[in-house]
């Protein structure tokens, strides 16, 4: 990616052409300075974002005491607890599996379908609109839907699996020993969020300039070569952003697990966000819940940073 267009030459040229406006254009309140462009969104983000952050940091040094019914300062106790909590380590592993599985499947499927739709089938607009529909179902409702669809006795999905002989009555999707509990929560997840990649990647594919693609065809590249060597590299910034945002959202996944398994059986599907909920609202350990919330935030910052470095994302 080329470097950002320097602002200065433009201003120099303007100085020559319209000398008397030059001073005005140097002012901070000019559209040649970046600050004014950022101001609205920064105000919005600070306004909504800063208090929850401060509150949770403050709260992480306090804890609700059920004996006295008061919230008392506990110093670093909550943070020390984070380091020796086995359930946090378990939840971290569960989150990692969930995030990796969901991200890979959703991205690969999304890219394949976006490429297919971009290939110009008839009525592509209709297929595209239909494929976005799963995303429109609120995740809490989708979770309830799939809880029924996956039910061993009256679920349509279980029935389908029975028809093709993949259904083991001892180990249904939901229930049994919970061997497939992770698969069970990943099904609605993938169903709902593959369309996220379809939408972004398709918009990206359509926005690509056509010359390099035509050039590669003139040079005799096959469809596969064009796709791997020309289309994909050009689509990279869009892929980077889409994967990054899905990654950030996946790290705080909550709805499906809350509705479908409540982290169970045992702690088999307990992800970090759900564990934070458990501590905050089930066992009323607000301070520790805040610690877990900040831990998720820090984890997301670290993972997103690593991701941008490993894949050399150009911002």
């Amino acid at each position: 990616m080329d470097e950002i267009t320097p602002v200065t030459p433009v201003r120099d040229r303007d100085d020559a052409r319209w000398g008397r406006f030059a001073r005005g254009r140097e002012a901070v309140l000019s559209s040649d300075h970046p600050y004014l462009w950022f101001l609205p969104v920064v105000i919005l983000l600070l306004f909504i974002g800063i208090y929850p952050l401060i509150y949770n940091v403050y709260n992480s040094f306090r804890e609700f005491n059920p004996m006295t019914g008061a919230v008392e300062p506990v110093g670093l106790e909550n943070w020390a607890r984070l380091l020796r909590d086995d359930r946090v380590r378990g939840a971290l592993g569960t989150t990692a599996i969930y995030v990796a599985a969901a991200l890979i499947v959703e991205f690969v499927l999304g890219l394949m379908i976006a490429t297919l739709l971009n290939g110009g089938p008839w009525a592509s607009g209709l297929w595209q609109a239909l494929l976005i529909l799963p995303m429109v179902v609120p995740p809490t409702v989708a979770a309830v839907m799939f809880e029924v669809l996956e039910n061993a006795d009256y679920g349509a999905l279980s029935w389908l699996l029975k028809q093709i002989g993949l259904f083991n009555p001892a180990e249904p999707l939901l229930g049994g020993t919970g061997r497939y509990a992770m698969v069970a929560v990943l099904i609605p997840e993938i169903w709902q969020w593959t369309p996220f990649f379809i939408l972004i990647l398709l918009a990206g594919l359509k926005a690509l300039p056509s010359e390099p693609l035509e050039a590669s065809q003139v040079d005799g590249a096959t469809g596969w070569q064009t796709f791997w060597l020309v289309t994909l590299p050009m689509l990279r910034p869009m892929i980077a952003i889409a994967v990054l945002f899905r990654l950030v959202d996946l790290l705080k996944v909550f709805d499906y697990i809350y509705v479908m398994t409540s982290g169970g059986p045992g702690v088999k599907t307990e992800v970090l966000s759900f564990y934070a909920y458990q501590r905050s609202f089930a066992t009323i350990e607000w301070g520790y819940g805040s610690v877990l919330g900040i831990a998720i935030l820090v984890l997301a910052i670290v993972v997103a940073n690593l991701y941008t470095r490993v894949f050399k994302i150009q911002w």
């Binding site: 950002i4 267009t5 433009v10 000019s30 040649d32 970046p34 004014l36 462009w37 609205p40 969104v41 919005l44 983000l45 974002g49 509150y55 949770n56 379908i113 297919l116 739709l117 971009n118 110009g120 089938p121 008839w122 607009g125 297929w127 609109a129 529909l133 799963p134 429109v136 179902v137 609120p138 809490t140 839907m145 669809l149 679920g155 349509a156 169903w191 996220f196 972004i200 918009a203 990206g204 359509k206 926005a207 690509l208 300039p209 056509s210 693609l213 035509e214 065809q217 596969w224 064009t226 796709f227 945002f245 909550f254 709805d255 934070a276 819940g289 997301a300 910052i301 997103a304 941008t308």
Partner: protein, 320 residues
């Protein structure tokens, strides 16, 4: 493959069979037909759960959970819709179909037309707001050379990292003190802030694809930086704006936890209303499916309208 007509064809960019759209030769475009069939199959598979859901909204109670699910051969009923959208009295239907008064006899419990309206207002206004606020920032991130630009972009991203489950309570305290509980502007601002990081960074990558010569050319012609952005560059990120609008609307439409915590019932979004149909004792499948199906219609129309703009962007050659 390097046939002249194939080269100028937009389908050629990924498809091996680029000549598929050649009409004049009279050859039937088999490759295109194949792609259409696969697309339709994929779309139908993805929509099966929604079909099941939409059918449940017109099935009588005893048919909703029948296995195998019936596509035909049931007595279609509009009772669920009549109660959810038309405020009909559910008690009467219960007596007619089951012979007892049954659940949901509270009156108005399932009437959700105004919740659909609430969801729509909050979704539409917050989407508009986030586009207005984030587009200039995205443009600036894409165009200006500034110190700590990456850090700034990362800060914006980080605003989406706090799990709602721990942000909800402090936001509730803040909104209570501001007197913003149960207000449209409160939820609109929260949803706009939730979508701002995605909108900013997504639009930034769309601006990155528009050649910088374009801004330069406009400014040589006497436009200010803002003029170049507003009158020239903006129209080339139409596709990006459309995709961002769809995503922002969908995220706002689906958001559950914050909408639940920051309202007490005067304003209620669809996910929050849906959650009241499910209790520990029973789930009102018919009402839930009717509301879910009804709530999909406006978004489906919105997507169909918006996706006209998901068109090809500018080609590099146009500015050279």
């Amino acid at each position: 493959m390097a046939h002249p007509t194939a080269i100028s064809d937009r389908t050629s960019q990924v498809a091996p069979a680029a000549g598929a759209r050649r009409r004049r030769g009279g050859r039937f475009p088999w490759a295109r037909l194949a792609r259409t069939i696969v697309s339709a199959a994929v779309a139908i598979i993805f929509c099966l759960p929604i079909l099941w859901w939409a059918l449940a909204a017109i099935k009588p109670t005893q048919e909703i959970l029948s296995v195998p699910p019936k596509l035909f051969g049931f007595d279609p009923t509009l009772n669920w819709f009549r109660v959810v959208l038309g405020n009909a009295d559910p008690t009467r239907f219960n007596v007619e179909t089951t012979g007892s008064v049954g659940r949901g006899s509270g009156g108005g419990t399932f009437f959700s037309l105004f919740y659909l309206l609430d969801s729509f207002i909050i979704g539409a206004v917050s989407t508009l707001l986030v586009l207005v606020l984030a587009t200039p920032a995205a443009y600036a991130l894409s165009r200006f050379r500034m110190r700590r630009r990456k850090d700034f972009a990362f800060w914006i991203l980080s605003q989406r990292m706090m799990p709602p489950i721990v942000a909800a309570f402090p936001l509730f305290i803040m909104f209570r003190d501001l007197g913003w509980i149960d207000t449209y502007h409160g939820l609109i601002l929260v949803h706009a802030a939730m979508n701002a990081p995605l909108a900013t960074l997504l639009l930034m990558s769309f601006f990155d694809e528009v050649p910088r010569d374009l801004d330069e050319a406009a400014m040589v012609d006497g436009a200010t930086r803002f003029g170049a952005f507003f009158t020239v560059v903006l129209r080339y990120v139409r596709g990006g704006l459309a995709a961002t609008a769809v995503l922002a609307f969908v995220f706002s439409w689906n958001e559950f936890l914050l909408s639940l915590v920051l309202t007490t019932g005067n304003i209620r979004t669809v996910p929050v209303a849906s959650s009241t149909f499910t209790t520990a004792f029973a789930t009102e499948w018919g009402y839930l499916a009717a509301l879910g199906t009804a709530s999909m219609v406006p978004i489906f129309v919105f997507i169909l309208l918006v996706q006209r703009h998901l068109v090809r962007g500018l080609t590099l050659g146009a500015v050279k």
